[in-house]
């Protein structure tokens, strides 16, 4: 591959343009690009074995692979779905954690008078509700984009819906972080609440980043 990297201008240009055009989870994108690069290298090798000059073989290989306009939408579609699954997985794993944090904080203080005002309890219930709905939607997305997709087409707007579900969950986690931080100052069992707040903050960081990437992917054209 290194010999081709040095010699084949058309192939390197093609791969560079493809890399710039595609957006999605880094590992999956890198794997896709590497496979396409290998495929081009194999095609060039096959043509040169038949006696074709190297540069002509490289141009022909690129031509056979299809133009970027032909290739990018189908690659981007897969990367967008991969990013949606990535975001859905992050929400499905962290949202129940948020609910568990609240439940733990609530039950730990059960023996003592609850130190927070009634509005804080209502806020906790709302956030737990948002997290639960987000987790359910995320689980449904994982099913719909996995094995179920053999029989049911994936709705075109699903990645965008997942992106906004993730965004909503990440906002809920940010609010929960603030609420738990405030509660840890007021409550008697402050270490547990501070720990729950830190978990909520970490969950927010993971989900917000993934949801942002998902929104970016969902806006790109794909077949």
């Amino acid at each position: 591959m290194s010999a081709i990297s040095r010699q084949a201008g058309p192939i390197e240009d093609y791969i560079a343009a493809l890399t710039a055009a595609l957006h999605g989870p880094a590992r999956i994108k890198a794997r896709m690009i590497e496979e396409i690069h290998d495929g081009l290298a194999d095609t060039v090798k096959a043509h040169t074995r038949e006696g074709m000059a190297y540069q002509r073989a490289a141009h022909q290989a690129v031509g056979e692979f299809g133009t970027l306009d032909e290739l990018v939408p189908s690659c981007q579609r897969e990367l967008t779905i991969a990013q949606a699954r990535h975001t859905a997985r992050a929400v499905a794993l962290t949202a129940p954690l948020l609910v568990a944090c609240w439940y733990l904080a609530w039950t730990t203080d059960h023996d003592q008078p609850w130190q927070l005002p009634h509005t804080a309890q209502l806020l906790a219930l709302c956030l737990a509700g948002v997290a639960s709905v987000a987790a359910l939607l995320a689980a449904a997305t994982l099913a719909a984009t996995g094995t179920l997709a053999r029989w049911l087409p994936i709705p075109h707007q699903l990645p965008l819906a997942v992106a906004w579900t993730g965004t909503t969950a990440s906002v809920a986690m940010a609010v929960a972080t603030l609420a738990l931080a405030t509660a840890s100052v007021l409550a008697t069992n402050w270490p547990l609440l501070a720990f729950a707040g830190a978990l909520a903050a970490a969950s927010h960081a993971v989900v917000a980043a993934s949801a942002r990437a998902c929104r970016q992917c969902a806006r790109l054209p794909a077949t």
């Binding site: 591959m1 999956i28 794997r31 896709m32 590497e34 496979e35 396409i36 290998d38 495929g39 194999d42 095609t43 096959a46 056979e64 692979f65 299809g66 032909e70 290739l71 189908s74 690659c75 579609r77 897969e78 779905i81 991969a82 984009t145 996995g146 094995t147 997709a149 053999r150």
Partner: protein, 113 residues
């Protein structure tokens, strides 16, 4: 056969050439062209996202394997992939029989399969 016409049957073609055993991307392209004797005009780059999709659907599995000094991603059919291939063959057989019956009503049923 034009690329547009092939596109709708790409999944079936990929599953079929993987039936005998695991292959990497370029070998899959070569197998499709060899079996079709070069008659299928395929934009070869498009098979990579298609392989990715078939793996996501659980019809293929893949793993990195070393071939010589290079490592390549090799794909193979799963049990679900074999079932889907059988369904694709049945659907294609019924389709060609039906179209053949319309295009050439004098021919005996099943001539086009």
């Amino acid at each position: 056969m034009r690329a547009d016409a092939v596109r709708g049957h790409l999944d079936g073609l990929l599953l079929a050439v993987l039936e005998p055993g695991p292959l990497h991307g370029y070998a899959i392209i070569a197998a499709v062209q060899h079996r079709s004797r070069g008659a299928l005009e395929l934009r070869t780059g498009t098979i990579y996202p298609a392989l990715n999709r078939l793996e996501r659907l659980g019809l293929l599995s893949s793993s990195w394997q070393s071939t010589g000094e290079r490592r390549r991603r090799c794909y193979e059919l799963t049990d679900a992939g074999r079932h889907t291939l059988a369904s694709e063959r049945t659907a294609w057989s019924e389709f060609t029989t039906a179209i053949g019956s319309v295009l050439n009503p004098a021919a005996p049923p099943g001539f086009a399969t």
